[in-house]
Symmetry: C2
Subunit: 328 residues, 2 copies
Amino acid sequence: MLKLEQLYSLVDQAVSRLEWPVEPKLLYDPLRYMMDMGGKRLRPRLCLVSYNLFKDDIGEHILTPALALEVFHNFTLIHDDIMDNADIRRGVPTVYRKWNDNIAILSGDTMCLWAFKMIGQAPKETLAKALDLFTKTTIEVCEGQQLDMDFETRNDVSLKEYIQMIGLKTSVLLACSSAMGAVIAGADDKACKALYDFGYKLGIAFQIQDDWLDSFGDEKTFGKKIGGDILNNKKTWLLIKCQELAREKGKDCLLRLGNLLEMNQSQGQKKIEAVKAFYQEFDIDSLARKTINSYYAEAMMSLRECGLDLDQVRQMETIASSLLGRNR
Amino acid sequence: MLKLEQLYSLVDQAVSRLEWPVEPKLLYDPLRYMMDMGGKRLRPRLCLVSYNLFKDDIGEHILTPALALEVFHNFTLIHDDIMDNADIRRGVPTVYRKWNDNIAILSGDTMCLWAFKMIGQAPKETLAKALDLFTKTTIEVCEGQQLDMDFETRNDVSLKEYIQMIGLKTSVLLACSSAMGAVIAGADDKACKALYDFGYKLGIAFQIQDDWLDSFGDEKTFGKKIGGDILNNKKTWLLIKCQELAREKGKDCLLRLGNLLEMNQSQGQKKIEAVKAFYQEFDIDSLARKTINSYYAEAMMSLRECGLDLDQVRQMETIASSLLGRNR
């Protein structure tokens, strides 16, 4: 088993070896632009680490499918940014802003298709299973994005529905990444499923933590301004949980929260402070952290089902804790 | 070997058996809407006929991948209609018009992913080859669409570039459809390639005929108003050929054509008549027909490379001639 740093470095090298066609320029420039934006390459890392639990022969047959996960993820970002009217990503203009909608639609489509071309490089023996997992997952990611958009116009989203939505939009691709390595290595179904569950629970923990950071994080480590979700009345775990608790406490309480949400965006910092104070009243901060820990613990439990030895479990624990920004 | 009518009927039945998820409603309603719009199901027909040249065991293992070609084609229509600002398709509002851009982007994405899920149903023995062909083709279709958009802002598109563009945008999917049946049936490379070439040449003939019909067709059989391409100065085979010939004849002649193209859309019928008269002056009508016939003949030549018997060649000739609306 290689060290995590070695595996991460192999992923980075593979990313830098990627070559896209030059023409048509307006099709492939945005694709290169997205891939050059950087990021932690979390999904291919997970995939490669998972493969290496079972096999040592690391080559293009696993690196290319691993990168497919990153390419697909970047495709979803291009299209999501159009749909969400997002102007900035990782500090630079989004594709549809830098070029235009049409370019973003078509280069996104192309990127998605390249992801399938890259998954297609998996060894023949495991291709059918790898493709099955990938198509199922990618369809679910789109379903999750649609649910997220549906939620924007709804005021009765339950916590259960929210978890289902982030499960589809965020977790299944992490689950797929974590299972894909095992699938391509030809691991048995039980191990693949356990690694899938590990990635899934980790993804839920990760997303709720992202929600938490937006309200209670540190601007320096979070990398963007605190309170964006609050300003936009975004239906996060925090807000939905708070709505549920306020509803239990009675009409007046729910009305108070409703009034806070109706505060104008121009009241900026004042709104953020007021909503955060309301959250504190209901202990949302610590409830969120408990929930994150609980999903994290479930992810760790899944690892025990893989039939891995202690070193292997440690390897996966390390990647999990770094994903959640925890120092072990 | 089954009769064409039997094969077509199997395709229609398979289309009507298709079941899409119900939720999220805004994701899958547009997908159903597109699939219910009808159409000749040309691509799955080609695929099934091609399979049946080599194998008689027609079941879901070939019908589902055959339908993937239709599903992918419909996905491209959803996204193309956004990019082209097209309001109407087959007499009804396009998806982005009936819903909105975001719905059209995301349900299109989902449709594309389902196409891969369906290709994934090909038998394991031929899956790698089928997936290879499909991904290569679908990427090329996007490249063709980008070239088509690039051409809108260029005035120096050559006939060679035009043929390359329609080759990618239209022909490769017909070529892929025609080869896919053979690939999934496990036919040898030579036969697969010959059927690919057959579909490719046929596609070029089909597209140039489509260009020709827009200027010289009969409104009743064409199904839409004559002259739409002329009004929009669309770079069709006719216009590009005419530009080339006018250029050869000298500056004055090219200027005359330029003036016609600058006529306002409001001059509608007058512009159509004037451009058509100019086309006639250069014999574009008959040059186009000759070129269509020549590509058609090349398609027929490719058939001879497949190692098929006379009945089998006749089967493919029949589907080719019906595609071009010819009675044999």
